[in-house]
């Protein structure tokens, strides 16, 4: 029997300018095949990864933002967004995509995946992880 570990993926880069955001998302999806306690953190420019209304037709790159909506189906249901990073960029949680997951233990009720947290709260969650992967 394998022990379930807490994995956190920390995202700190905006999408499209570099490949970090897409790479992180791919690793998360691959990692989801293993039975682990997975969470994502969006910090600094990483908050731009989950902005609502992304349209990449003009830059000739694949818009992968809709993939974040599929995370719930892979049992990736904890997306921590740092409030201070949003505020520093003039954003609020309303600027982000509505990301949800279906709770099969609660009549498949749709529940929000995004957890808006303060720096101090996120620091505690991060300190509690077994493995942290940074992008």
């Amino acid at each position: 029997m394998s022990e379930i570990k807490k994995f956190m993926y920390v995202n700190r880069k905006a999408p499209y300018g570099t490949v970090y955001a897409l790479e992180s998302l791919e690793v998360v999806l691959i990692g989801a095949a293993f039975d682990q306690d997975v969470s994502l953190a969006f910090v600094d420019d990483g908050v731009y990864q989950i902005m609502n209304g992304q349209n990449t037709t003009g830059i000739g790159m694949k818009n992968f933002s809709s993939t974040y909506k599929a995370l719930g189906d892979y049992e990736v249901t904890k997306l921590y967004v740092e409030k201070e990073s949003l505020e520093a960029r003039g954003l609020t949680v309303d600027d982000l995509m509505e990301l949800t997951w279906e709770d099969e233990d609660d009549d498949y009720e749709e529940k929000p995946s995004i957890r808006l947290v303060s720096s101090a709260e996120l620091a505690e969650v991060m300190a509690d992880q077994d493995v942290v992967l940074s992008f």
Binding site: V43, E82, A123, A127, V132
Partner: protein, 100 residues
């Protein structure tokens, strides 16, 4: 938990983010270009000093030396480690978050 920072605080926000998001009791290691954040007199020195109240901060000696930064200029409370010390910290602490 061990946090590592390897970017200059005057070019990137990695050190500031690390200071903001590291919990009390965790350790922070500055290496490569981040060692410039370990000395006194910079515009981030006050934040680094404040973090020392509840976190340990280490700096990699060979990276200080390579940049001509004298250990006598380090912020009080920052400890110098060598490569072996870096390895020890990585092993001792439960997890590592690299603020790349």
């Amino acid at each position: 938990m061990l946090h590592t920072v390897n970017k200059s605080p005057f070019e990137r926000n990695s050190l500031e983010s690390c200071l903001r998001l590291s919990a009390a009791g965790s350790a922070i290691l500055l290496f490569e270009d981040a060692v410039v954040g370990a000395v006194t007199g910079t515009n981030i020195a006050d934040k680094v000093s404040a973090a020392l109240a509840d976190r340990e901060i280490y700096v990699l000696g060979p990276d200080l030396a390579a940049r001509g930064l004298d250990q006598s200029k380090l912020i009080d409370g920052i400890k110098v480690v060598d490569y072996g010390g870096f390895v020890d910290l990585s092993v001792e602490k439960s997890a590592v978050q690299a603020w790349v």
